[in-house]
């Protein structure tokens, strides 16, 4: 296959970026999208040009490191019914000779570090603001001593599949991180271990979300459509319910 790429190149956070065209030859349709970028980078390195910087790690769709906007869709899923991360997107999804636009996540809270790499530490700060449970770590307790209802446990596990890739923010017309925050809130709120801090967590995490410059949610639904882990939009309603309940509770003394 021959692929024509238009890739966002930006030397660092301060400099202005632009779309640059490249032609990639000898692309196998069995290559992943990232392997195709590897191929281009080898070529650029041989030519003495700066290779394109992009984030990646496991390349198995489970770590949440990779992620670029491909032809305007975060992770490049486009109209395919199969949710995917960029590393699990294969070149057979594209036509021979196709022109593909590749851009970084664009969000105020995710500044570009270089080319396609963005700084997602804003997500870490949201987690640090309350995405944890405070327990005394000792020996593992008897599992049966804390029953978790099946339905809630399933829902918690579904929400916990969020890998924090940031596609929801990238796809949201408002640049909102609500789906990510809601996934973390739902994950912890559904389990018995998450109850003690349930109603302070929702406030502190949301406050950090807003403080980091994410936009507000207007229930458009683009986030859930690009989520590689199919985090459902209803987690956002779950967050909102907890937030409303938290307004009628004391935070402390």
């Amino acid at each position: 296959m021959i692929i024509n790429l238009r890739v966002w190149r930006q030397a660092n956070a301060q400099s202005a970026g632009k779309m640059v065209s490249y032609r990639v030859e000898n692309v196998s349709e069995d290559m992943s999208f990232l392997e195709m970028l590897d191929l281009l980078n080898e070529d650029l390195t041989v030519k003495g040009e700066e290779p394109i910087a992009f984030d990646h790690d496991c390349r198995e769709g489970i770590c949440g490191m990779c992620g670029v906007v491909i032809n305007g869709a975060a992770h490049g899923r486009a109209s395919s019914p199969v949710p995917t991360t960029t590393c699990q997107l294969h070149m057979r999804s594209f036509a021979d000779g196709a022109t593909i636009d590749v851009e970084p996540w664009r969000a105020g809270a995710f500044p570009v570090i270089k080319d396609l790499v963005v700084d997602r530490t804003a997500f870490d700060r949201i987690i640090q603001a309350g995405g944890f449970i405070s327990i005394n770590a000792g020996s593992a307790p008897e599992a049966h001593s804390v029953p978790a209802p099946k339905i809630q446990a399933d829902r918690a596990f579904d929400a916990a599949t969020c890998i924090g890739c940031g596609a929801c923010v990238a796809a949201c017309p408002n640049g909102s991180g609500m789906l990510f925050t809601a996934a973390k809130i739902t994950h912890l709120a559904m389990l018995p271990q998450g109850q003690p801090e349930r109603y302070t967590r929702v406030k502190t995490m949301l406050a950090q979300h807003d403080a980091d410059g994410f936009g507000g949610c207007t229930n458009i639904g683009e986030c859930a459509a690009v989520c590689p882990k199919s985090i459902p939009l209803d987690t956002i309603s779950a967050l909102n319910r907890d937030l409303m309940k938290s307004l009628f509770r004391k935070d402390g003394k």
Binding site: R6, W8, M19, V69, N71, G72, A73, R77, A78, S79, D101, E103, R106, A107, G108, A109, A171, P173, N174, G175, S176, D210, G213, F214, G215, G216, C217, T218, N219, I220, G221, E222, A224, A225, V226, P232, L233, D234, I236, S237, A238, N240, R241, M244
Partner: protein, 211 residues
Amino acid sequence: MAITGLIMVGFLLMHMYGNLKVFLGADSFNHYAEWLKGDILYPLVPSGVFIWVFRVFLLVAIVAHIWSAAVLTGRAHAARSSKYAVTKRLSQTYAARTMRWGGVILAGFLVFHLLQFTAQVVTTGFQAGATPYDMVIASFSQWWVTLAYAVWVAIVCLHVRHGVWSALTTLGANTSPKARAFLNGLAWVIAIVLFVGFMIMPLAVQFGWVK
């Protein structure tokens, strides 16, 4: 945003119902209009007071709604200061996409609507001080008034289509994929009921079924 929006949707449903009183004849419609402005909650409150309480209530809702929208828009722009070269829309509706400018446009029409029928500063084929029934007949007998009104109501109903779903979701009603489908369906039903309910009366006047 959600609460003030739902207040206004409630008002629209009441307003639509009231408009349909035109079909009961001039006396019924005029009497209803007079009751709205005078006798609600009378003698609990003095005659003509409730309407002002209600107007202030609606005005506060509108101002709070616009203020929330402005804050959200400002945050959204700050959160997406650098634009994508290409954007592929996957799940957004036309209604969702046009909430902001649609809201501005429908607010503009609303000002005209109030100047036309409440303040009677802009008269469309009637004299200021005419009875409500005469105002309606004189206005909607003109094709351009009916057309402009139809465009406005369509914009309002698009706003309601996303607004009802979004408001209920914000208030926590979207509990499952099934609930999501139901809420979207409900939003469509309310939008269509409002469009049909608001358009029957002007069209009936336009085509001479009501004189």
